[in-house]
Amino acid sequence: MSDQESLRLDRPRRWDSPFDPAMTEAVVDELLARPEFSGIDASRFPAAAPLRGILLNDCRIEIYKPGDIILREGDYGNSAFLVLSGSVRVAVPPGLPRQALGRAPEKKRKMFDVLRGMLTAPTIAEARDTSRYAALNSDASVILSYHASLLDAPDKAALFGSGVDPSADPERLPPLVDNFKTVMLSSGALFGEIAALARVKRSATVYAETTCRVLEMRWQALRDIKNRDDGWRTKIEEVYRANLLKTQLPEHPLLRDLNADDLKKVAEQTIFETHGSFEWNVEFKASKKQAYHATEVEPQVVREGDYPDGLFLVIGGFGRVTVKLGNGERTLTYLREGDHFGLDELYDTWKTREHRMHETSLYALGYLQLLRIPYPALAELVFPKLAAPSSRLIDAAARPIEQDAFMEWAVDQRFINGTKTMLIDMEKCVRCDDCVVACAEAHEGNPRFIRQGATLDNWMVANSCMHCVDPVCLIGCPTGAIHRSMSGGAVIINDITCIGCGTCANACPYENIRVVPIREKSGAPVIDPSTQQPIMKATKCDLCSTLPSGPSCERACPHGALQRVDLASLTKRTRLEADR
């Protein structure tokens, strides 16, 4: 190493790449003067990340014209929005038709570029074009600044009514027809914080009704402010809960047949519960080294034999349903967003007028967000309209134990978090490494996964990013370099804004992120002159999202041994029937 000239490059810092270079101190002053911010005690913020700094670097002002779509239902997002002036409308469920929501164009690389890249891949590990880092500007920012608009929708008559010209008034958009329900938000309203904080999809579409000025806050900003200011924390949590109830309940299959009044009554009685910790990866990694039974450390929500209080609806996180078996507990299934727990027993109770106890236990797998609808509401409003459940959860207990071995193991390892888990059938894999080579060719000669990992029987879950439903790696990132792509949902690291702190790598419960020292194209290591340490960047599988063809690893396997599998949606009651 000493015989190679190394490049000196200052180690990147959190705010090397501000969210909006146009943010000025004057704008920050204006923001601080507003009622939303004026009440915050700036002294509670650390010197490294002062409030002014957060506003200057992690926020930006955006102007939207009438009709501009600010967020789309179903997209992933990393920002929350505060309305500074003007008004926006939230399209509550069932929401707007998909065709009206123009999607931001996906920037995929051209085929020729990709081919050229593949065939001229450098042979130096982790070579980078460091000239890109030197010119850090807002082009490197994550958000695509492209505004789709309702005015571009193909069928405007369906939205606004026939005979109405939506662009007649340049300052205000006409209201939508009656079958679309909207709620207006004006100055001071905060929206989009659920998706930003909870790492889930946007729950509703929000569009600008008038010309409005909106403050977009990266979720890191929201996190820091929320952590330091009680007022913000309470407000966010209240709004969070209220919005959840408004958006989640009407969507639920069990409650679909209820009318608006009944729904409102149910909502009023519903209790919001969270179990476990948002940052569950910490104790999970610790428990992997120590615990014998997973259920000894997982927070228990319901115990088998308990009196059922109400129906649980899962709105976030994962839960494990178990039944006692011998001296241990057997996992029957796992629950994720959209599932429910306790229906069989409660329905029986209502039907037979005899009290039925919980037949199974429920544990929080790291983090579990529940809505609990108490029994009286169920008995009065829900069950009369509900058909009897066709199968019972407890029937799964009759299956042979071995048949559920894979599921049990996947739940223990928390692989059920993964939407693109790399599953390799080791009886088909001939260890040719074509998958690794293909991954390397798609990433300038650098593979992004390791063909090694936890194995059960012939199934190996390799160390490749699973693009989790609940990506805990996002939690600690100071810059937002690691983020969810807007559509698709893949978790991507922006190489330019990554400062190599390693938080994501440490956070990942599955060791799928690796922080690597980078080099110049010539092979010289890139060194920070002040510390003489090599500059590091975090790297991981990005699902080949910039390629037109999709993940290279799967395409490259000649024997079909490697597959990217959605374990989160795998049929939970059957064992893995692979195409052997």
Binding site: I124, K288, Q452, P525, P534
Partner: protein, 604 residues
């Protein structure tokens, strides 16, 4: 449950199978250094870190991923304490495999172009284009010139040689330097237009030599042998079973054409040689007849047989029985009572013509013979017609008949001219042939035939009429007409001399020219005497004799004494598992092959 599932072989850093070099220390069994080899394959990790000066001390800067700062710290002069000799980075298997392919390819190219002997004169190493040994017949004379003898492109320069892959080059064009044929070499069967009646006039396809004759099949290869499938490309439908698939032989095969000599095999074998009526008598050779009735070789010279089996001579075969007939039937020249056939011919006067004129002419002749003797007759007849007639005999005849007195008595000789009572009892001047090829008889036949093409129509008709009497089977003089009638009647002026007397083998049709048959090979199989009948069987119902009547009969209606030979007969032996039945056994492709070498070499 949890910790038992953890794989024991956790991997901390990426494994890079796409990189051509791996750290040598890891290959030798140590821990790979964190720097890794350089792109060119040099060790990158000789030094543990690059120490940094902080104040007046040096600090270790080993990254956390490699273990963090070491406990020893750098040396006082700022060098790292953890140096080690550079490793030898090893190529990984993938890149090694690639190297094998590249080196192998280059070696191959080298071997192909230069080969073992770098001083080769040819564009390319010969063994790189060796397609196998030449046949022994060609390998000798081509050794000096080499491949260029046949492959003209071989002598080109490298660029032209490569480009000739896209041009036309046919080694067959060189074959004709030595191999000539009686016709264009590269057309089928060496003819321009088909001669078979079925395809008459059709232009023949182009067939190159190499399409049938393959060289480079080793020195023992038999170049002339061509597989039947080659023939089958044109001669369809193809067959592999001679007995079933070969077209039937022509209906009159092999004796479709009549000869010039009338010889009824059926009559002879079944009657004349057998019936005592014909065999008994001093003028019959009963012994010969007894053999000949069953032994074909008594008349046919089988021991010299190829396709044709020649006949033995007249004297060996026919004279035994027919000799007396030749002599017995006299040629009556003059008869004082009437105009004879011969006289009619001589004077050019028809017998049915003016009687007085005939008599006057005759009388004039007698007087001439009486006064001048032979010379008087010769003035009209010429010498040949009366060869052997003595002067005295002529005067005797002339004086007697001019005066209408009786002839003086004399003894009639056995052969020759005589004036006196002929076999019918009429006094006349007649001639008795002495032998089979009697010159006087031949001269008279010639005169007759010349008369047939006389410009004068009257004379022609006279000659025609006389011909019929002359060549009458039973009564014709000299018994010539008994056997030679057809020849004498039909052979044209253009034919070869004496061909009217020859047997004349059947004219070889064009098909026949490419078909070969050898009696000799077949006759040795069983007893030569009896085996003829295997293929040649007398056809009792044949109308052979009808063709040899005085009326002109079309050739198509001729029927041989023998039944035609069918392919079934040949097929008895020439079939799978027995005798070779391939096309080339009986058929030739090239009509006539001439080698243009040595003394036979012609300029172009």
């Amino acid at each position: 449950m949890n910790n038992q599932d953890i794989s024991g072989y956790n991997v901390e850093t990426y494994v890079r199978p796409n990189q051509p070099y791996a750290c040598g220390r890891s290959c030798a069994g140590g821990t790979p250094c964190w720097q890794g080899p350089s792109a060119k394959g040099k060790c990158g990790g000789a030094s543990g870190c690059s120490p940094m000066r902080v104040g007046d001390r040096w600090e270790c800067q080993r990254p956390k991923s490699a273990g963090g700062p070491c406990s020893e710290g750098p040396l006082p002069n700022g060098a790292c304490a953890h140096t080690h000799p550079p490793c030898a980075p090893r190529r990984n298997l993938r890149s090694l495999r690639g190297m094998f392919s590249i080196i192998g390819g280059m070696l191959l190219l080298l071997l192909l172009v230069i080969g073992v002997n770098p001083l080769m004169k040819s564009a390319v190493n010969l063994s790189a284009i060796d397609a196998g040994s030449l046949s022994s017949v060609h390998s000798g004379f081509t050794r000096e010139q080499g491949c260029v003898s046949c492959h003209k492109n071989h002598g080109n320069q490298a660029g032209a040689w490569l480009l000739s892959a896209f041009g036309k080059s046919d080694a067959s064009e060189q074959c004709v330097d030595c191999h000539r044929f009686d016709g264009p070499a590269q057309l089928a069967h060496n003819v321009e237009k088909a001669k078979h009646p079925k395809y008459a006039g059709r232009a023949m396809d182009k067939v190159s030599c190499a399409s049938c004759h393959r060289e480079h099949q080793g020195s023992e290869a038999h170049l002339r042998k061509v597989a039947d499938t080659a023939c089958a490309t044109c001669h369809k439908p193809a067959f592999d079973n001679f007995a079933k698939g070969h077209p039937a032989f022509s209906p009159k095969y092999p004796l479709a054409n009549p000869g010039n000599v009338f010889f009824d095999h059926a009559a002879h074998i079944q009657d004349y040689f057998v019936n005592p009526k014909h065999t008994k008598g001093s003028n019959r050779d009963a012994k010969f007849a007894a053999i000949a009735k069953s032994d074909c070789s008594s008349c046919h010279a089988v021991n010299l047989a190829t396709r044709e089996i020649k006949l033995k001579t007249y004297d060996q075969v026919c004279a035994g029985c027919h000799k007396s007939q030749v002599t017995e039937r006299e040629l009556v020249l003059f008869d004082p009572e009437r105009m004879t056939v011969a006289a009619s011919l001589l004077f050019g006067l028809s017998r049915d013509g003016d009687d007085e004129a005939n008599q006057a002419a005759l009388k004039k002749m007698w007087q001439s013979m009486a006064s001048e003797g032979r010379a008087g007759l010769a003035k009209v007849s010429g010498g040949a017609l009366i060869a052997g007639l003595s002067d005295a005999e002529a005067r005797r005849a002339g004086t007697a008949w001019a005066k209408k007195s009786d002839l003086s008595p004399a003894d009639a000789p056995e052969t020759g001219w005589f004036t006196g009572e002929n076999s019918e009892g009429n006094p006349s001047l007649f001639y008795r042939a002495g032998k089979h090829t009697d010159p006087v008889m031949i001269a008279w036949m010639k005169k007759l035939r010349a008369g047939l093409s006389d410009p004068d129509a009257d004379k022609r008709s006279i000659a025609k009429e006389l011909m019929a009497e002359f060549l009458d089977k039973q009564t014709g003089p000299g018994a010539c007409g008994k056997c030679h009638a057809v020849g004498l009647r039909t052979v044209t002026a253009k034919a070869k001399p004496d061909s009217e007397w020859q047997y004349a083998p059947p004219a070889a049709k064009e098909q026949g020219a490419l078909t070969r048959y050898s009696h000799a090979k077949h006759l040795g199989v069983a007893n030569p005497a009896g085996s003829c009948k295997t293929c040649h069987q007398i056809n009792a119902k044949s109308t052979y004799a009808k063709y040899f009547t005085p009326k002109a009969v079309p050739v198509e209606s001729y029927e041989s004494n023998f039944s035609s030979i069918t392919k079934q007969t040949c097929g008895e032996c020439h079939q799978k598992g027995r005798v070779d039945a391939s096309c080339q056994v009986c058929h030739a492709y090239h009509a006539k092959h001439m080698l243009n070498v040595g003394s036979a070499k012609k300029e172009n």
